[in-house]
């Protein structure tokens, strides 16, 4: 069966350092992968999408890589700030054309310490 794992439920990083979160999946061939941010009591907020034919995507201090051979995505936040503290979710897009549901990992709770 399909399985998505985000390594470490919680990650503590010192302010200014780079935070790296990992998303691994098995038994799946996604057309794309997305990363979301979720704050307590709120719904997830979309951050970045990377497609199966892309290796890397950047947006301001965020960088995502996607290795379909390793079945892994890495999510980096450079120059981290306390305001980056949140839960980060990876989500896999459909492998079947026309199917639209996202399959989410369990999330990694990131804390940036001042």
């Amino acid at each position: 069966s399909q399985k998505i794992e985000q390594n470490s439920e919680a990650l503590n990083i010192q302010e200014g350092k780079t935070a790296t979160l990992t998303c691994n999946y098995t038994n799946y061939s996604p057309a794309y992968l997305q990363w979301y941010r979720q704050d307590p009591g709120r719904g997830p907020v979309f951050l970045l999408l990377i497609r199966e034919n892309e290796k890397e995507k950047r947006k301001e201090r965020l960088k995502v890589t996607f290795d379909t051979t390793l079945k892994q995505s890495l999510f980096h936040i450079t120059a981290s700030q306390p305001a980056d503290s949140a839960t980060y979710l990876c989500a896999l897009g459909p492998s079947i054309q026309g199917a639209q549901k996202l399959v989410f990992g369990q999330g990694t709770r990131l804390t940036i310490n001042p």
Binding site: Y32, G43, L49, Q100, L102, G107
Partner: protein, 117 residues
């Protein structure tokens, strides 16, 4: 502009009761999704609407769960004979339009926290 809204924000009910959860998507978004999120877990897909029709309801756990979107805008998730295991945050999301395998951004609402006593 206004985002996805969900009502109520919190719902406490007793085991065996019937509940309705409402979602107002972003105006003009044709696709609407329902997810369920348990504590410490990521959202779990329930059902997806394209317009008025349910295009994929493979995530509904059993026949106690039903969702409608009669006019292609507002959607209601209905749960009959609620059980304690139904307690979770129910999230709604909408997107402009699905483009095959293109991956439209899904915009989530704040969720409805359902507690079944």
């Amino acid at each position: 502009g206004a985002g996805v809204s969900q009502t109520p924000s919190n719902k406490v009910t007793e085991k065996g009761k019937y509940v309705e959860l409402r979602c107002d998507p972003i105006s003009g978004h044709t696709a609407l999704y329902w997810y369920r999120q348990s504590l410490g877990q990521g959202p779990e897909f329930l059902i997806y609407f394209q317009g008025t029709g349910a295009a994929d309801d493979s995530g509904l756990p059993n026949d106690r769960f039903f969702a409608v979107r009669p006019e292609g805008s507002v959607s209601t998730l209905k749960i009959q004979r609620t059980e304690r295991g139904d307690s979770a945050v129910y999230l709604c999301a909408s997107s402009l339009t699905p483009r095959g395998r293109g991956g439209d951004t899904q915009y989530f609402g704040p969720g409805t926290r359902l507690t079944v006593l």
